[in-house]
């Protein structure tokens, strides 16, 4: 490059920045403008299926943080375990998803909700009944592709045309 040291580099850089002035910005305005999150979203909440859970406790054993607490008792009449206590401290949860992968009976899912901030630490502890699937707490498709296909498609920045080049 012959003109390398004569201020050409500075001039080129200036053209790049001024061109960005007339492009659409990349950012989005969060509370008004909501983008779809990933279909396999690993959020901070778990969804538990009461019917499918057999109380085997594999999730609690797999959890690297020890955030899942499960207490079962034996139901002699029907010859199965009854889950007395199923409690997840999402304050300790690191959203690794190993519990969901390890569940042999497909009874545990991530929720697709992402606005899970709480004011008190005690509110972070979820137990049996607030872990069920509701219309507000949809099931995320993490590890369950058939559930993922029902969720809205993720918004990608690749799709958003921000500039004419």
């Amino acid at each position: 490059m012959k003109f390398e040291r004569y201020g050409i580099g500075i001039a080129k850089g200036l053209t790049v920045t001024i061109r960005h002035l007339f492009r659409h910005p990349t950012v989005s305005q969060y509370p008004e403008q909501r983008l779809n999150i990933s279909r396999r979203f690993r959020g901070n909440e778990l969804v538990w299926n009461k019917e499918k859970c057999t109380g085997c406790g594999t999730c609690a054993k797999t959890c690297p943080q020890g955030a899942i607490e499960i207490v079962t008792s034996t139901d002699m009449t029907e010859n199965k375990y009854v889950v007395d206590k199923y409690q997840v401290d999402t304050g300790y949860c690191i959203n690794c998803g190993l519990c969901i992968e390890s569940c042999p009976y497909e009874a545990l899912y991530f929720s697709h909700a992402f606005e899970c901030a709480r004011y008190r630490r005690s509110e972070l502890v979820q137990s049996k009944d607030d872990m069920l699937e509701t219309p507000e707490r949809k099931v995320s498709g993490y590890f369950y592709p058939d559930k993922a296909n029902k969720l809205p498609e993720q918004t990608l920045l690749v799709e958003k045309v921000t500039e004419k080049r």
Binding site: E4, G9, T15, T17, T26, R39, R40, P145, Q154, L157
Partner: protein, 367 residues
Amino acid sequence: MAVRTEPFVLNMGPVHPSTHGVFRMRVTLDGEVVVDIEPIFGYLHRGIEKLAEQRTYTGIIPLTDRLDYISSMSNNFAYCLAVEKLAGIKVPERAEYIRVIIAELQRVAALLIAVGAFLNDCGAFFTPFLYMFRERERIVDLFEMVSGQRLTYNYMRVGGVSQDLPDEFMPALRKFMNMMPRFMAEYDRLLVQNEILIARAKGVGILTGEQAINCSASGPVLRASGVKWDIRKADPYSIYDRFDFAIPTQTTGDCYDRYRQRVEETRQSLHIIRQAMEQIPSGPVRAELPQLIRPPAGEAYAHIEAPKGELGFYLVSDNSIAPYRCHIRPPSLINLTALRDMVRGWKIADLIIIFGSIDITVGEIDR
């Protein structure tokens, strides 16, 4: 004819805008000139090596995410390779390709941050940094699609990857691959020829090849000094021997070379991804393994070419479900060995950019 004044000690960090995390440098200054420097670590020490001794082999993978948190996928990759080497596990073909694509995307993302942060240290007021983050965002979107998270991906598993790629991944990746070269060209126009950058970074903080080897430097820092050593070529792991790519090297080993080296490596990574996209077969993505892996007693060391250098895991097994010892070879920490020799005699402003050009992540240094 420099005027000698009384040296004084300046504590840069642990909270300083350009120490890339909680890192402290005890700098002895003579006016503006750095006389001596002592890096002080440990502010982010979480004892990951000790924690790993208490966890199952699968349970360590989330921990590795938190080592070098801007290239989590590479860490997962290195760890899984080490366990597979230890237990002799064969990975399905498709999983190997997915791993390579993901790892190279991660390299692009991490190198973009490294370059952006370096230029930010040079004083380009956040512009290159934000442009880089915009491009990284596109990659992180793809990672979110496959793994569901944006920073701690926890995607790779021993014996494969956790899930197959979703159907919409490949079209999105193709779009990204079409976009990236144009961005790289525009980015080159922004600052590569910039006279101020050249004046600041050329000839500053020279690390010679011999010194780099002696200091066990690795990755872009080593190659910018002119040493052609890339573990992907020298000791091909996974399926890197199937791809055709070059190892770019620079000559002098100054800050500008390290910056150029990272940009060139990004191009090679894109080249690898393009080949892998064409060759990827279909099939299973995870080997059939028991819930708890019990590798035979022994030891294994697997290393990969992470964005920052040679990232290795040295595992010692005693045939239980948790490793007896898990040592991590952190590229960031070992690359810092040469810092003192590189900065002595330069000014504070140079100290910042030399430090920035080494590209460290404190999560990996302190572990």
